[in-house]
């Protein structure tokens, strides 16, 4: 293997490689640490946190679709304090970056969580304004520029020196509009895409498979939408660091997102088929960079040559 420098920088945070795991698909790392050392990863986006413990939505919470899945977990989590006390120390043992992911019902809640997490020393805070599974808040923030900007401002004001990355919803007419609003409000980075809203019906029973009727679509099916949106946002906001995600399951997928403008990528759904997916994505990416004769994988970022 030729020598490719795999490190990248995302909003000033140095990642040893560009492959991060996506929030909500990796819990707080304990489970996959049984498969490999978490230090293999560029970073870990922890399961989405709320101010208080939440039990999430009733099951079934998952349905399979062609090359995709729908989920309606609904932010089950122990709350931000329990995360800081019980999970963060565990994650801190590993040589990887810890990115906390937060969802609030009000801008104030985002502020409180940012303060706590920044104080606790997470490496970055990912502000989820786009979770489609929570009735109050969540999605609305992600689809309205002025609300997205407000949440971003409050988060930034309370995050101290901890970089704030805002996670965008793909369920919008124009993602660049939200991206710009959030950037103007001071976001240090953007992450995209969260899940597309979808539905599956069991034709035998006439019932939606998910108890919440609809859920968020992720997995390879959404990759072309993710690539397009990363490209649009990176064109609209040159220089804005982007964590790209949506359907990455191999090195080539990650390379597409990086060429489209992402500085790093997250792997989510692919974990369910293959717990080692982030490792093989990283290795595949390294091979692609080597084949292209790059000395640093970061040279892929934004390298697409549109016609």
């Amino acid at each position: 293997m030729p020598n490719v420098d795999m490190s990248v920088t995302l909003a000033g945070v140095n990642l040893k490689n560009p492959v991060v795991v996506a929030s909500g698909t990796f819990g707080f790392g304990r489970e996959y640490n049984q498969f490999y050392d978490l230090g293999e990863l560029g970073g870990i986006c922890a399961k989405g946190l709320t101010l208080h413990r939440r039990e999430g939505n009733p099951a079934p919470r998952i349905a399979e679709t062609p090359m995709g899945i729908l989920n309606s977990v609904g932010l089950q989590n122990p709350g931000v304090d329990a995360f800081i006390e019980e999970e963060l120390p565990f994650l801190r043992q590993f040589d990887t970056k810890v990115i906390a992911n937060i969802s609030g019902n009000t801008p104030e809640e985002y502020g409180v969580m940012c303060e706590k997490l920044s104080g606790a020393g997470v490496d970055m805070i990912e502000v989820n304004i786009s979770c489609p599974n929570v009735k109050a808040g969540g999605l609305a923030y992600g689809t309205r520029p002025e609300l997205a900007a407000e949440v971003t401002k409050v988060a930034k004001a309370h995050a101290g020196k901890t970089p704030v990355m805002v996670k965008l919803s793909p369920n919008v007419t124009d993602i660049t509009e939200i991206a710009k609003a959030v950037a103007d409000a001071g976001a240090d980075a953007l992450s995209l895409i969260n899940t597309l809203r979808g539905m599956r019906i069991d034709v035998n029973t006439g019932r939606p498979i998910l108890k919440m009727n609809t859920g968020g679509l992720s997995g390879p099916a959404v990759l072309p939408v993710a690539v397009r949106m990363v490209w649009e946002v990176s064109c609209a906001l040159p220089g804005m660091p982007i964590l790209g995600m949506g359907g990455v399951s191999k090195g080539e997928d990650a390379a597409q997102l990086m060429l489209a403008g992402a500085s790093a990528v997250a792997v989510g759904t692919a974990l369910f088929a293959d717990p080692y997916a982030p490792i093989s994505v990283r290795d595949g990416l390294e091979q692609i960079a080597a084949r292209k004769g790059l000395s640093k994988v970061s040279e892929l970022t934004g390298g697409v040559k549109p016609w």
Partner: protein, 259 residues
């Protein structure tokens, strides 16, 4: 150390028109992660299906050079159809052993209750208590009955019920459970696996008789290891536990049966 590995299919036999008995070579999976009967494996069923399929361990054995493990599954949809089509000699990608099994002692005496495709893990429980336990198994009809001969070998007694009366008692297993518990007060616990309505009824009967009861629950899964939180099971205390990690076996008193 959890594992995911390509496992060779040692044998594949059809138990009836829908159910397959499959033996796999699983490396050191049993040696390293066996916790008791009732755990499951998470099986990749072809390249075009993203999600793995959870299947209970029926029985398993530490062996050299490769541990072996038997699963029994019914063809329900695309995934199980794909798996049923794999011939012996081919390999399948398996994660396991996952979850927690039944809490039991080899010297214990249990009332094992299985319904339909919930019967296979009961065979593992029977083997574990070598001849001391009693099995009560229910099927839709005679044609659907599976594993009866093997259960006979591993149990002190086997009672059968069918929904249509074509084999054993006419009716559901909970009636037999009630009968057995009223006749025999010496069971350490009732262990059950099957459709949720059956589990609820069995749990109720066990509670009436004051016998501890453990149930193996089903839920649609993603990761299979406790990371994605999709396989929620509603608990009496209002919390939601996860079938793949906290279960699949739960104390029946903890489960919210009204959810």
């Amino acid at each position: 150390m959890k594992v995911e590995r390509k496992c060779k299919i040692v044998s594949k036999d059809w138990l009836n028109r829908d159910a397959v008995y499959m033996v796999l070579e699983v490396g050191d999976m049993v040696r390293t992660s066996w916790k008791g009967p009732g755990q499951f494996v998470h099986v990749k069923c072809g390249d075009s299906l993203l999600l793995r399929r959870p299947i209970s361990v029926c029985s398993c054995m530490e062996e050299e050079p490769e541990d072996t493990l038997a699963i029994v599954f019914e063809v329900r949809g695309e995934g199980t159809q794909w798996l049923a089509n794999r011939p012996a000699g081919h390999s399948v990608d398996v994660m396991g052993l996952l979850g927690n099994g039944f809490t039991m002692k080899p010297e214990g005496r249990y009332l094992l209750v299985g319904g339909g495709i919930g019967v296979p893990p009961m065979l593992g429980c029977a083997q574990y208590t070598a001849g001391k336990s009693t099995a009560i198994v229910g099927f839709r009809s005679k044609e659907k009955a599976i594993l009866l001969d093997r259960l006979e070998k591993e149990c002190a007694k086997v009672l059968t019920a069918t929904d249509d009366g074509s084999l054993g008692c006419h009716g559901f297993v909970d009636a037999l459970v009630r009968q057995e518990l009223s006749e025999d007060k010496n069971y350490d616990a009732v262990l059950a696996c099957g459709p949720k309505p059956m589990l609820r009824n069995v749990a109720k009967v066990a509670q009436e008789f004051g016998v501890p009861c453990q149930v193996s629950m089903e839920e649609r899964m993603g990761c299979g290891v406790g990371a994605c939180l999709v396989c929620a099971c509603d608990m009496k205390d209002g919390s939601r536990k996860h079938v793949c990690k906290d279960g699949p076996v739960f104390d029946s008193k903890e489960v919210d049966w009204d959810a």
